[in-house]
Each structure stands twice: as structure tokens, then as C-alpha cells.
């Protein structure tokens, strides 16, 4: 019932292309049939009752998208996870109390598993009592453990009932981020064509834009840097593009200027959204400007101590494993420092230890804990260093117990981290220190200059 408004739109466009996933086309008719196939499969064959908490692992493919919609229709609590998160899967399944895991592999085949976990968190029960679907997304946590943010999914879906223009859209952002799901639901609800791919390299993205005449590319500043560095845009015809949007991290004015001069026919739009609040409507001052208006229907925005606070109908209920992030009057404290100029805001970034690497976020503690397990390590400090490509890179200053060749140690540390951490959390710069400096209060300080 929660996706009726979507399905009735699909019915009207049965023969139109809904999805192009890894270069295979599917119509809205195919999509409806596949959703109902999985709806039946879930209850009749896999015995997954409505209201179950289900971790869905995959990327934007025909079957994953169909399963996502079928689970929504069955009022399940969905925990989407990108295929690349495999190293964290067990931990994330435990934190989110996932009762079932559905993994969709590279050939788009689904595998169903029962975990044996019983989900009984108060937020989950609240959503079950409302007979609504739920959505759990992860955001990085100060202690190193990811925070499980719980949405009543019906609240997030509400805004898609308002019809808007749908462009041919490349679903570039990730499956386990609200940005990626927001793009998918926007395009589907307006009967637009969604193009998705597992290969997000600049050359493949440019090829898809040329081949499928893509009009809208939601992206990130890191990807746009890579697009410029690779010069892939010089090898393809990208004239179909109308809008490139970017969010998830701060954009360098140099990159934005270069983009505007290389793509004079494209409008650049900054977006702003958080896992905890959903995506806000924004309006940039002009194409070359990083100042923007924030808000839209259902959002209330204010600034306290230069930190942005947001109240929204689609705010999360809370975190399953961390204290409430809301003020007493219901505003979410974003942690993002902003400058204001009349009704315009400029996002300066996080006022905390959190490190943002190309839109993926992590706190130093998680990485420090892993490095300290490594042989011959006496202590480690992890911090972010500004980098024009990915916004920041992870640096680790390490003190060793006995001398070791620097290059060998760097390789050994990275190899060890590869077995324990997702790729973006592995330090890029590793420095061996004679001694780690301690500040007056014996709190460790990093050595960055």
C-alpha cells in the first residue's frame, strides 16, 4: 500500500524504459512484474514476515531495486548496504538487529539468509505498530562504531507524491546513502529513466552519458575532480547533460570554476542532505557560487553557534546505538559549520574530528584501534589532511617499538588495514615518528602542520 502511488505511475508508462542497469534495459511493466514476483517470493517461499528487519546488500540493479520496493510494500525495515561494505557486514547486521540478509551478487542473483537475530528495538517496534516500512542507514560514530539511524520510511516517501520533472538520470550515488536512494525514488516517481552502473569510473560514466543521452548527473566533488584529472570528458560527447548536482562534501572554488569553463552548457547545482534529515531543496546564488538557499516544504533551518540545525518531517526517530541527536525543541544538530549572508548559507564543513573522504565519513578512533593491533606498533594517531582530489585523506602517525624499513612498514600497515577496514578508511599517508607528541593535558595531538 505504501508504494501504490508509485505503481499506479508505473502502470501508465508500462512500455517506457524505467531502468538501464549495467547496459540492460527494463520497462516499467517489467519492473511492476518483478516487484510482485518478489513480494510473493518473500512471503510464500522465503517466509520473511511483514515487519521483519532485512539487510539488503547490492547495488542499483533490476533485482535489488525490485526487492527494495517489494520489502517496502511488505512493511519491512530495510537496511541497504553497498556490496563494497562486505568487511563490515556482520557488524552492521548486528547493530541494526537484521533478522534476514538478502545478498544480490554481480550477476543480479539474490540469496536469502536468516541470521537468527531477533529485532526488538523500541524504534523498530514503533514503526511496526504504525504498520509502516522502515529504513536504517549508517553514519559514522565518534567511538568508531557506526551509528544506525532509523527512519519511518513512509515519512521519507511522502515528498515523492508531488510530481516534478524527471530527466534521464544517472544513479551515480551509492545504494546505502540516502542521496542515491533519493535520486532513484525521484526519477521512478516521475516516470523518468534511471541509468545505473557498477563501474563508476570517469570513462564509463562519460560513455553512459553519451550512449543514453543522460541529462542529470548527481555526483560528488571528488568524482568531478576525477573527471577533470582523467580528461574523460574530452573523449565523449556529453552535450545531452543539462544538470550536474554535487553534495556530500565541500567543493573547492577552483574545481567549480574549471567545471563551469569546461561545461558551459551545464547547470551546476549544490545539494545538501543528511542521513538523519533527508535531502533539502536548495538554490545556488549562481553557477559559480558556493552560497545557497536551504529548506523547502517540511524543513525548518536555523543556525546556533555557527552550526546548522534542521527540523524536518522526515527526521529520523533516533539512533539505535547512540544518544538522541536532537535539541529539546526537535532540531537535528548537523555538526556542519556554516556562514550566513541574508537568506544564503555557505557550508564550511564539520566542526569535529570526523574525516570526510570523498563523501564517506569516519572518526579517527576506528582506524587507530586497528593500527594498534599491528605487530611492532607502540602507538598511532590518525587525522585527516586536506587533499584537493578527495577533500581529505587519512594520515597515520605511528610510533614503532623497534626500527623497521619505512616502505616495508607502510605496505605492511596498509595490507593489515585492508583485512579489517573498508578501502576509504585505509591511511594514504603513513609517517613513522620517533616519538608521539603529547599536549600539556596529556591528550595526544596530531603532528600535522
Amino acid at each position: 500500500m505504501h508504494i501504490d502511488f508509485l505503481v499506479s505511475g508505473f502502470e501508465k508508462s508500462r512500455d517506457k524504459t524505467a531502468l538501464i542497469c549495467n547496459d540492460r534495459k527494463y520497462t516499467f511493466g517489467n519492473l511492476i512484474d518483478n516487484i510482485y514476483f518478489f513480494k510473493k517470493e518473500l512471503s510464500a517461499k522465503q517466509n520473511i514476515p511483514s515487519g521483519s528487519t532485512v539487510l539488503l546488500e547490492g547495488d542499483f540493479t533490476f533485482n535489488t531495486i525490485s526487492l527494495f520496493l517489494a520489502l517496502t510494500e511488505n512493511n519491512c525495515i530495510i537496511v541497504p548496504l553497498n556490496s563494497s561494505s562486505k568487511s563490515d557486514r556482520t557488524e552492521l547486521a548486528n547493530i541494526s538487529e537484521s533478522e534476514y540478509v538478502i545478498s544480490v551478487n554481480g550477476s543480479d542473483e539474490a540469496e536469502f539468509k536468516k541470521t537468527g537475530i531477533k529485532s526488538s528495538h523500541e524504534f523498530i517496534n514503533k514503526i511496526r505498530d504504525r504498520k509502516n516500512p522502515g529504513l536504517i542507514l549508517f553514519s559514522s560514530g565518534t567511538s568508531g562504531k557506526p551509528k544506525a539511524a532509523v527512519h519511518d520510511f513512509s515519512g521519507l516517501l511522502k515528498k515523492f507524491r508531488t510530481k516534478r520533472e524527471a530527466l534521464i538520470t544517472l544513479n551515480f550515488l551509492l545504494f546505502d546513502h540516502w542521496g542515491g536512494l533519493n535520486t532513484l525514488f525521484h526519477t521512478l516517481s516521475n516516470s523518468g529513466t534511471t541509468v545505473a552502473t557498477a563501474d563508476r569510473s570517469p570513462d564509463n560514466i562519460c560513455r553512459l552519458i553519451e550512449e543514453y543521452k543522460i541529462e542529470l548527473l548527481p555526483s560528488s566533488p571528488t568524482f568531478l575532480n576525477l573527471l577533470l584529472i582523467s580528461e574523460a570528458y574530452k573523449r565523449y560527447d556529453l552535450k545531452s547533460l543539462k544538470i550536474i548536482s554535487y553534495g556530500t562534501e565541500s567543493m573547492s572554488p577552483v574545481t567549480l570554476r574549471k567545471l563551469n569553463s569546461e561545461f558551459p552548457f551545464v547547470k551546476f547545482r549544490q545539494t545538501y542532505g543528511l542521513i538523519e534529515t533527508g535531502v533539502l531543496r536548495t538554490k545556488s546564488k549562481d553557477d559559480n557560487s558556493l552560497w545557497l538557499k536551504l529548506g523547502g516544504e517540511g524543513f525548518d533551518v536555523r543556525v546556533r553557534d555557527s552550526i546548522l540545525q534542521i527540523k524536518s518531517e522526515s527526521n529520523i526517530l533516533g539512533y539505535m546505538n547512540y544518544p538522541s541527536p536532537f535539541t529539546e525543541d526537535g532540531y537535528f544538530i548537523t555538526g556542519d559549520e556554516v556562514e550566513t549572508d541574508g537568506e544564503y548559507y555557505r557550508i564550511l564543513g564539520r566542526k569535529s574530528e570526523q574525516i570526510n573522504i570523498g563523501g564517506e565519513k569516519v572518526y579517527p578512533a576506528e582506524i587507530e584501534n586497528v593500527i594498534r593491533e599491528l605487530d611492532n606498533v607502540a602507538d598511532a594517531i590518525v587525522y585527516g589532511e586536506k587533499n584537493p582530489v578527495t577533500g581529505n585523506i587519512i594520515c597515520a602517525d605511528v610510533r614503532l617499538i623497534k626500527d623497521e624499513n619505512a616502505s616495508d612498514f607502510r605496505v605492511r600497515l596498509k595490507k593489515f588495514c585492508m583485512t579489517k577496514l573498508r578501502a576509504f578508511k585505509i591511511p594514504s599517508r603513513v609517517k613513522i615518528l620517533e616519538e608521539i607528541k603529547f599536549s600539556e593535558r596529556f591528550k595526544k595531538t596530531s603532528n600535522k602542520s
Binding site: 569510473s201 570513462d203 568524482f223 576525477l226 582523467s230 616502505s407 605496505v411 585492508m418 594514504s428
Partner: protein, 99 residues
Amino acid sequence: MITSEKINETIFNALDEINQLLPDENKIEKKEDTVLYGAYSRLDSLGLVNLIVTVEQRVQDELGRSIDLTDEKALSRKNSPFLTVKTLSDYIASLLNNE
């Protein structure tokens, strides 16, 4: 004046270090015309950043000079310095020899 042979050798040593972390099918060949971050590169964004940082560290260790390969100057150039081993080597030479 630091020769282009010396710079190439430093880049190749950095590639040796990076290759130890890459699966066999993605290893980067030690040749002047090897594509680093250009058409159909096998590196992703983190791979590119790791390559850049490792080359900076090797230049520091082996040539005793500190360089910044990703300042605004590098990114706003008309042609990207990171397309191939050769373009990167030429760019490092221009930084080291203050052209």
C-alpha cells in the same frame, strides 16, 4: 638539475610499493607510456590518491625534496599531469627544476 631518468626511477619505485597492495589484474606496469589516471585507468579515486602520496613520499626519501603534487596549480592546468607516467614525470621535473 635532477634528470628525468632519476625521476622515472623514483616513480617506478613508488609503483613497486603500490603494486604490492593491488590485485594482479590491476598492477601498474613500469613503463613511460603507462596510463595512470587517463583513458580506462584501473585506479579508482583512492588508488589515485595513494599513488600521488606514495610518489611524494618517495621523492622526499630518494631525492630529498618536498613536493606537493595536488595543489591548485596542478589541478587547474589545461592538461592533467596524472594521465601517464611520462606526463607525471615531466610535471615533477618542472616542479623540481623550478621551470
